[in-house]
Symmetry: none
């Protein structure tokens, strides 16, 4: 683990907000010799430009072709850098995947927390969180897909770390449901755990059917899913 890359990536994670248009790769020149535009502000933020571009390209390619089917050669060629450059910033191909997961998990955890701690009534907080995770999953469909398809490619240690983080996320979400169950707002004949798994199964599956050029906007799907979740939580008479 080279200190140089641990720094920028961990301290300044590449931010890609919900709805942020990924511009990766499209502006990269395909000259093959790896030279890129050395604009004026490249000097200032250029240091992070290469790793960021690599992550963006890797995310897209992993989603499109799967982790194993994507070669390092393909990644660096698409990103317009050399292999040496990639290995300068990342320890390995696996490391790229790890960083992708890390970013996704950090972002989703942050977002959930933001909705969970508002002063709104519980039902609203849960519905908002549910809707938001759908919207943000759609905004980052590639990450969502990779999450489902490529988890098993991670080496055991990192996989365990990812799962632990994921579990914390689920527990936070489940906490909201249990709070409602205790308050008598939600049905109690179903374990909150099962409901969480039920709902997030649906969420993680979005990448396999959602089309951005389809009839439903991300927000509409988010609202539908949140409604379905809330409906299924209504106490039975």
């Amino acid at each position: 683990m080279l200190p140089v890359r641990e720094g920028p990536l961990t301290r300044c994670p590449v931010q890609r907000g919900v709805g942020a248009e990924a511009t990766e790769g499209k502006t990269v020149m395909e000259t093959g010799n790896g030279q890129r535009n050395a604009g004026s502000d490249e000097q200032a933020e250029g240091a992070a430009a290469v790793p960021r571009r690599l992550l963006a390209v890797a995310t897209r390619l992993f989603a499109e072709q799967g982790f194993d089917r994507t070669s390092v050669q393909e990644i660096v060629a698409t990103a317009g850098v050399t292999k040496g450059a990639m290995y300068h910033y990342f320890d390995s191909k696996d490391d790229l995947l790890s960083e992708i997961y890390g970013r996704v998990l950090r972002e989703q955890t942050d977002r959930l927390e933001k909705f969970a701690v508002t002063e709104a009534p519980l039902r609203e907080r849960l519905a908002s969180a549910a809707s938001d995770v759908v919207v943000s999953s759609i905004a980052n469909l590639d990450d969502t897909k990779i999450f489902m398809e490529s988890m098993h490619q991670l080496d055991p240690e990192k996989r365990r770390a990812v799962r632990a983080e994921r579990r914390r996320y689920h527990e936070r979400f489940r906490g909201l449901i249990e709070e409602g169950q205790r308050a008598g707002e939600f049905r109690t004949d179903k374990p909150a755990e099962v409901i969480v798994d039920f709902f997030f199964g649906a969420v993680h599956h979005l990448a396999f059917w959602y089309r951005s050029d389809g009839e439903l906007s991300a927000q509409q799907v988010g609202d539908h899913f949140a409604d379905l979740l809330m409906s299924s939580l209504r106490p039975v008479r």
Copy 2:
């Protein structure tokens, strides 16, 4: 495509019923000269023994390690046959995956149809089908997992075929929901399509969290999921 394998596999698909234990590999002798037990009933079912064993082993390994991480060498070693034998029955490693999908799809389609055509009331038919697909998915967790993780490994043509079959399945299921919507039994403010994607997302995700040694039996999960589905279908006041 050797005629020999197209025949038995297509006409007499290897049956692996719900809960049927796969006995792959464990009873195969590793003598190296390829002779296997020539018992009395070998004559009757022995012909399909090798391809069946290969499919069973491949299913398990693909689920455990992923398609790309599983080598043909590993498959044949585990199944106790030679590579040549595998390529005698299957065109390629991809072909193995195709056959696995084919079997899963045929079985699930058959099961759905069985529940859909009974004389029971609509709500019962739908609940039964929903519960059953959960139970059978758990009974074949490996197939379910492969379905999610390895679809993108299939070559485009076969992938299209699988998706078409899958769509037919979804349409059949959706038909039941739409029937209930027309009858005023189910809510109509959500497209049936969305509900189907919501529910099957949860179903396909089972392989990522269900543990057979956990607290819940397959039937319990099936009932929970079916209940949650039915609840979310209740008309809104």
Copy 3:
């Protein structure tokens, strides 16, 4: 070497005269189970039908694709027999090639001898032989091509045998030239050996440019080549 095949093939070599249309393969049913028409006369000559068909098919495929690029599977499938059947009649794939060479050599040697021993004047005998070898080479272009491209595939022992037979052929031809040189009819400033190699280089090369749908008939090419040979043999002033 099974006695059964040594017999029929050696004693009754499959005859394919100059200009004889090869009908091989075209009447073979592609049922895949290897059953062929069991007509009335099949009983009488059926015994030679399979090896003959195999040789004809192999000749065509070797010429089209090369020896190494043609698999035994392809040969037997095209011939409509099984692998077992092929190995019943031939020792190996190499053996097929040997038999092809054997037939070609026997035939060409026979033809040359026929022209060499007539009562015609020497110049006529030589010109006829030269023209004939062109015509018969074109009539069996596949064999000619295989001769050039696949000789090195033969195992050393058989290759030596083929070369010895070939040398005898050349020596017989050279004998005619030397006869003319002694008689003062042909130039003597060139070794007969060189002239033979010169001429047969041209002959063996026919398969690489002659097209049966081109402007020149086989006979025309034969006459041209014979003329060129005779011209180059004229004594220098």
Copy 4:
């Protein structure tokens, strides 16, 4: 197609003059760590050393054993490099063959042009060119042999390219003959095309009989062949 190899090979084709001894493989150290002698002039020509050595070795082995009978493993072992190195410079085994053809064709075309454009009388120009192509074919007997035996191994596209280049060569040569026919120096009762095919058949066949330890030097054979060609071109009375 890596840019690195397209460059040096195409722009600076590995030169192997007539009679130049190929020194392939023999001086390569088998240290296994890949470091080779880093002499002073390595800087200048060292960059092309590996691909050049590979080409030389492949040429020899293809000629000795045939293309299909020569494994990549054998090539790289003889050249003293790893398989990875070979695939770093060449796209495939086929690509090696292509490069071999390319070099031969370029060289022969260059040589013909040199003889065709001199101020000498036509007969001398043609005789010189004819003699030279024999001498240079003998100097590169391996290439000549491969040309005959392995053309059909090339993939169709490249084969077409080779044939087109070859045709251009033939047309240039034929142009000289036609020039003489128009001038009344050569016979006109034979199509120039046929004469070209006749002569080059003999030339391409050299590799199958010429022995460098035989009685005739390359130059002697060249002179004989040129004489025979010129004789056969004399007008008939």
